[in-house]
């Protein structure tokens, strides 16, 4: 079993966001799944995580906060 694609400290990742403003770390070498857009282009893992920490401050799904 190889390392999980999300756990590679030296890997390159994207930050994805869906319509609910939920964020996802994503391996840069994999296709972006439908329904997600890239919020941060390929970056080191730590950078991506820092981006998420600063940009996703409300974990509530957007459909709830919009209501």
């Amino acid at each position: 079993m190889t390392t999980n694609p999300f756990e590679d400290e030296n890997g390159t990742y994207l930050v994805l966001v869906n319509d609910e403003n939920q964020h996802s770390l994503w391996p840069a070498h994999l296709d972006v799944p439908a329904g997600w857009r890239v919020a941060l282009e390929a970056s080191p893992r730590a950078t991506c995580l820092a981006h998420i920490e600063t940009h996703w401050t409300d974990l509530r799904p957007a459909s709830l906060t919009r209501a």
Binding site: E7, L16, N18, D19, S24, W26
Partner: protein, 1215 residues
């Protein structure tokens, strides 16, 4: 995508709808409290109104499990908020951290509502559950309503319209299953009343409330299957999860409860309760985790997130219903674990579990392991990094590493390795306290090991394999080899190898202590089984505990098991083949084929457990035959061998496999037969000594003989037998067969006895089947008949009423006048276990006896009295005993135990073996009947009871589940045994013989009234011998003398004037109980009780027993009286195990006691206080102060307390 939190299906709304449908149905039960759906709904609504505006916020609920907790949780939801259960057992610091991390708006506790500033909004969150975090901080999993409703409604893995027992920790997601499952579907939730489930209480709750469904963590499940499998009776649906299931335990549960539908449940809290389940019907290897729940999806993906082919290992990702929203206040952590799902609807997420699985042949998923360091210990999910982070915060810790070790299979423990900072280590206790101050109990390491540095691999990573076993399990390892420990024989060499293998140490010297090297009770079992397998020798558990060195075991094998073989002379052989010659040499008796192992009968099992627990010699059955005349010793020896060959129970040993006893009938075995010359003056003493032989049921035959010779034609043959092989009804055929075989031997012929109609083992199996099939009607009879039985009849007991006496039996009493029909007392099944399996009564209570003789004339009149009333002599005696007990203060409702042969059917009359059952006979003395009327009443009641004698006593106890008390037999304190089995006679040609019962001086009951009726050859009554055998710690001798006298007097009046109302039957005045302060000045007519056990000794004894159980359960070599249970590595599960074992010994222990009183001394005090029966009648139980009798504390004589379960003598041992 649309997040599902907006769809209808809020937990409290689904509940409200259900409450509207079934308002009058019972929703919640906790202890004596019961709420209907309507009541619960109303109370929650009312409570919600008091919460103020908390909509969209989180509210912490800090309450113990109980009705109020549920009302509060429902109220929080109704108020539009989400709840966060704050387990009051968690350290304050952790709770505060949880509240802060969650950004809760308020905390609701029994003292009120505390509002907190700076609350965050958490719309849509139903509940938050904290779980261990790898970054050193716990993380709060925020679950939307839909995660709960979708998981517990519309599913088929379990019926929710049922009675569920809720016993998981309230901080787990399983709590949502057990609570909301039934409450959203019209079922009933029975809350376990207390923080930690105790198997005994579980069993009672299941029976009492008709619980049909429940969830158990795999660890707790294993404990229950081990300790009281009967607890699961009545359940129809059981889901076990949290960890990999143990196939052995599953198999045993299913074997025992074939109707049980068992499911393996799998799922991390992020996916709410279960992602997958798997119905378990048969077990052949690891149990799959199965298939996803309805609405949930799982993917098994490789490193590029592609599905792996079936059969290949991949990481499990979960999607669909049940997913949490994320970790509160941890966006980055959420974004790495809840990630975009390439296989779901657009915008959907999946949770990566970190669990490695594969899809098996049938499509069911199989759990393979973890992709990271996360561990599960006792069902709790733990990130070792979090514990490491806590330890590293201690100023004296330079580096820390925490691992879960399973040095003992099935017993995973958290072990911390710490590198201290220069300046000296802080001390293990300080570190433990530091951890316990911050972490919940389950995250506090069981052991701490100080290292100079952490071992690293070549690549600089932690070398886990190089971490040593915890020091507390391996003290003495560092001692340099003395050079004197080299094995001196092949047998020793082989044993050294086996010791080392089992202990997993490089080498073992012959004088090394097995326990000092880290041996524990599980390793004991493994070692003994290896010794048996490789050396062909059966060594008993006790032998190993008593003499835990290679040298001693080698001697034991050489002398006890293979006296004729000489392993020392075996030719040296290469190490690889070293066992081979030993296996042959030491194999006597030859190892039986594995097929010979059979389960125990219920009765045997009871005695076996008693023996393991420490029954001492209470269950010895010593029979003495005085022989006057020429005895052919070789013929007698041969005859005994023949008898042992004929009766399998006499050559049966009891082995343990996986904690489960099995009996092995040895194909051939030679019973011990010692001939010894003794001066006549010493004979009695020597007999007494030999009668107290402590049997090792695992290694020795349950019978051996000693022939004492005092003169040319004067002998005394002592047959020392264990009750597990022989009961009172066995003695006539045993003696008859011995006589027959002796004659045949004299004639040089084989004994010509008729073939036995059935083997004991076969009978045992058939009987078990019959017992299992005992109908509800039979059980209902006992439930009805014994309902409301007074807990403990107030009798004039000794004031200090110690829980147990230490053995003071240096003076066995031979009851010569009860000749030939030995006490069936012990026949009486002793206190059965907890839930019916583990018996265990404090044994070794010293006994004394009072003997009276009913003359032939009165005997005749009693028979006549009975005849007029259609009653047997037993019933007449029973009536009289009831009258006397009432006079002694027992009240109008008197229960007496009575052993019955348990040999219905007749085909087993000639068998030697243990068959006896104990019946509880209840007598109603109210309304002041006449003596004659009472006899009729007793007759009616006894006949009915006899008609239901097929139900084993332990089953009755299980049904009734009476309160247990230390040192007390359940249900009955007084047993009446009429020895109406045939007389046992040994008839040797030309030899006069007289059979006598030898009493060991150890009591089996508080009071045994042993009655032997004698008749002349023509059948005319010849008198009745009445022997009162009583616990000297329970009764003064004066009281027993009175009781015997009163019994005779009542019998006399009953026979003479049967129309006398029972209240007017004259008895002598009841002596005042000896005040403790006047023991040295006994009252007139009383005899000082020599063997009184003072309370102090009893407390020490209690401590010793507690220490023994701790040592066994915790696998530590010694336990001191001030040692803390948790400091020794105890945890809630082992607390449950300890409680079960103590309860099985009759102590009112629950796991909670261990938490409240965590040292041996405090627990003993706690239990002793609880066991003290409040004085029910001042006249009979005067309060006493410290007693001067303590000065006369009995000492344990040779062969005394015989405590052998402990690897080491605890420091607290009172002597």
């Amino acid at each position: 995508m649309t997040v599902d939190v907006n769809v209808p299906g809020l937990v409290h709304e689904v509940f409200a709808a259900q409450a509207a449908r079934t308002p009058g149905t019972t929703a919640l039960i906790c202890g004596a409290e019961r709420l209907t759906y309507a009541e619960l709904d109303a109370r929650a609504r009312e409570r919600a109104a008091g919460l103020g505006d908390v909509a969209g916020r989180l509210v912490g609920v800090r309450m113990e499990r109980g009705v109020e907790l549920v009302v509060a949780l429902l109220a929080v939801l109704k108020a539009g908020a989400g709840y966060l259960v704050l387990d009051p057992a968690f350290p304050e610091e952790r709770l505060r951290g949880m509240v802060a991390d969650a950004g809760a708006a308020a905390v609701l506790s029994p003292t009120g509502l505390e509002r907190l500033p700076g609350a965050a909004r958490h719309d849509g969150v139903a509940c938050v559950m904290f779980t261990s975090g790898s970054t050193g901080r716990p993380k709060g999993v925020a679950a939307p309503h839909r995660a709960i409703t979708a998981t517990v409604t519309g599913q088929e893995y379990a019926p929710f319209d049922a009675v569920w027992l809720q016993c998981s920790p309230t901080s787990w997601d399983a709590f949502a299953l057990e609570l909301w499952g039934p409450l959203l579907s019209g079922g009933t939730c029975v809350l376990y009343p207390g923080p930690r489930p105790d198997p005994l209480v579980l069993a009672r709750l299941i029976a009492e409330h008709g619980v049909t469904a429940m969830y158990l963590s795999a660890s707790l499940f294993n404990v229950i299957v081990d300790e009281c499998p009967g607890a699961l009776a009545g359940l129809r649906h059981l889901i076990v999860g949290g960890e990999a299931l143990s196939p052995g335990h599953v198999r045993r549960a299913l074997d025992r409860h074939p109707g049980l539908r068992l499911r393996n449940g799998y799922g991390p809290v992020e996916g709410m309760i279960f992602l997958t389940t798997h119905p378990v019907t048969a077990v052949s290897g690891p149990v799959p985790i199965g298939a996803p729940l309805r609405g949930k999806r799982v993917h098994v993906l490789d490193a590029r997130l592609r599905p792996v082919p079936d059969g290949e290992v991949g990481e499990l990702y979960a999607a669909g219903d049940g997913l949490a929203l994320g970790y509160l206040g941890r966006p980055a952590l959420t974004a790495e674990r809840f990630v975009a799902d390439p296989y779901g609807a657009p915008g959907e997420r999946m949770y990566r579990t970190g669990d490695l699985v594969r899809r098996g042949p049938g499509g069911a998923l199989e759990f393979v392991g973890r992709a990271d360091e996360q561990v599960k210990v006792r069902g709790f999910r733990i990130e070792p990094a979090e514990v490491e982070a806590v330890l590293a915060r201690h100023p004296r810790v330079a580096r820390a590493c925490v691992v879960a070790r399973e040095d003992v299979p099935g017993d995973r423990r958290l072990v911390a390795y710490v590198v201290p900072r220069p300046g000296g280590p802080g001390g293990v206790e300080e570190l433990r306290a530091h951890a316990a101050g911050v972490l919940p109990e389950f995250m506090v390491p069981s052991a701490f090991v100080e290292l100079e540095s952490l071992p690293l691999t070549g690549t600089g990573k932690l070398d886990r394999a190089a971490l040593p076993a915890p020091a507390s399990f391996s003290s003495g390892q560092d001692e340099p080899s003395s050079g004197q420990g080299e094995p001196r024989s092949e047998l020793e060499r082989a044993l050294c190898g086996l010791f080392a293998e089992v202990l997993r140490v490089p080498r073992v010297e012959v004088h090394d202590d097995f326990f000092a090297l880290g041996g524990d009770s599980l390793m004991v079992a493994r070692l003994l089984s290896r010794i048996h397998g490789e050396l062909g020798a059966e060594v008993g558990v006790r032998t190993l505990f008593e003499t835990p060195t290679v040298a001693a075991i080698a001697t034991h094998i050489a002398t006890h098991i293979a006296p004729s073989s000489a392993p020392e002379t075996a030719a040296p052989s290469p190490p690889s083949a070293q066992q081979a010659p030993i296996a042959r040499a030491a194999a006597q008796p030859p190892p039986p084929a594995p097929a010979a192992a059979a389960p125990l009968s219920a009765a045997q099992r009871r005695l076996w457990f008693l023996d393991q627990v420490d029954a001492g010699v209470a269950y010895n059955m010593p029979m003495l035959v005085r022989l006057h005349g020429p005895v052919d010793v070789p013929a007698l020896r041969g005859a005994l061998e023949d008898v042992v060959a004929r009766h399998e129970p006499l050559r049966t040993v009891f082995t343990v496999h996986d904690g489960e006893p099995a009996q092995r009938v040895l194909p051939a075995a030679t019973p011990g037969f010692t001939v010894t010359e003794v001066p006549a003056a010493e004979l009695d003493e020597r007999i007494a000594q030999a009668a107290r032989h402590r049997f090792d049921l695992g290694a020795e035959l349950p019978i051996h003989a000693v022939l004492f010779t005092t003169g040319p034609d004067e002998h005394a043959l002592l047959l020392v037998m264990h009750h597990i092989a022989v009961d009172g009804w066995s003695l006539p055929p045993l003696m008859r067969d011995l006589s027959l075989a002796y004659r045949a031997r004299l004639d040089g012929l084989p004994a010509a006895w008729p073939a036995l109609p059935v083997r004991y083992a076969e009978y045992a199996v058939r009987h078990r089947e019959r017992v299992d099939a005992v109908g509800e009607a039979e059980l209902a009879y006992w439930r009805k008949t014994l309902k409301g039985l007074p807990d403990r009849p107030p009798l004039p007991r000794r004031p200090s009423s110690p829980t147990r006496a230490v053995d003071a039996a240096d003076r066995p009493v031979r009851a010569g006048d009860a000749a030939g029909r030995p006490a069936a007392a012990g026949d009486a099944p002793d206190r059965p276990a907890a839930a019916g399996d583990v018996p265990g009564r404090p044994a070794w209570a010293a006994a004394d006896t009072v003997v009276r003789q009913v003359d032939a004339g009165l005997h005749g009149r009693l028979v006549e009295l009975g005849r007029r009333r259609g009653a047997t002599l037993f019933m007449v005696l029973h009536a009289a005993l009831a009258v006397v007990l009432r006079r002694a203060g027992a009240g109008d409702d008197v229960a007496v135990g009575a052993p019955v042969a348990g040999r219905s059917g007749g085909s087993v009359d000639d068998l030697v073996g243990f068959f006896v059952n104990l019946l509880v006979l209840r007598t109603d003395l109210s309304g002041d009947p006449t003596a004659g009327e009472l006899v009729s009443r007793v007759r009616e009641a006894d006949l009915e009871a006899f008609a239901h004698q097929e139900v084993p006593f332990e089953r009755v106890v299980h049904e009734l589940n009476p309160a247990r008390h230390p040192g007390r037999h359940p249900l009955v304190d007084v047993v009446l045994a009429l020895q109406n089995n045939l007389r046992a006679e040994l008839s040797l040609p030309g030899v006069e013989s007289r059979v006598e019962v030898v009493r060991t001086g150890a009591a089996r009951f508080e009071l045994l009234v042993d009655v032997t009726d004698d008749y002349l050859p023509g059948g005319a009554p010849a008198g009745i011998a009445v022997t009162l055998e009583y616990r000297t710690d329970a009764f003064d001798r004066a009281v027993m003398e009175w009781l015997a006298d009163a019994l005779l007097q009542v019998l006399d009046v009953m026979a003479t004037a049967p129309d006398t109302p029972v209240t007017r039957l004259e008895t002598p005045p009841l002596p005042e109980p000896t005040p403790a302060s006047s023991v040295t000045a006994p009252q007139v007519g009383t005899t000082p009780v020599v063997s009184a056990a003072p309370a102090g000794a009893s407390d020490a004894e209690l401590e010793r027993r507690i220490a023994a159980v701790w040592a066994e359960v915790l696998g530590v070599p010694r336990v001191g009286r001030d040692d803390g249970f948790f400091a020794l590595g105890g945890n809630s599960l082992s607390a449950v195990r300890v409680a079960a074992r103590l309860a099985a010994q009759g102590l009112p222990a629950t796991a909670t006691h261990l938490f409240n009183s965590p040292t041996v001394a405090t627990l003993a005090a706690d239990l002793a206080a609880q066991a003290t029966t409040p004085p029910s009648a001042e006249a009979t139980t005067p309060p006493t102060g410290p007693t001067t009798a303590q000065a006369t504390a009995p000492t344990t004589g040779p062969g005394g307390a015989g405590i052998a379960r402990l690897p080491r003598t605890p420091r607290t041992r009172p002597r």
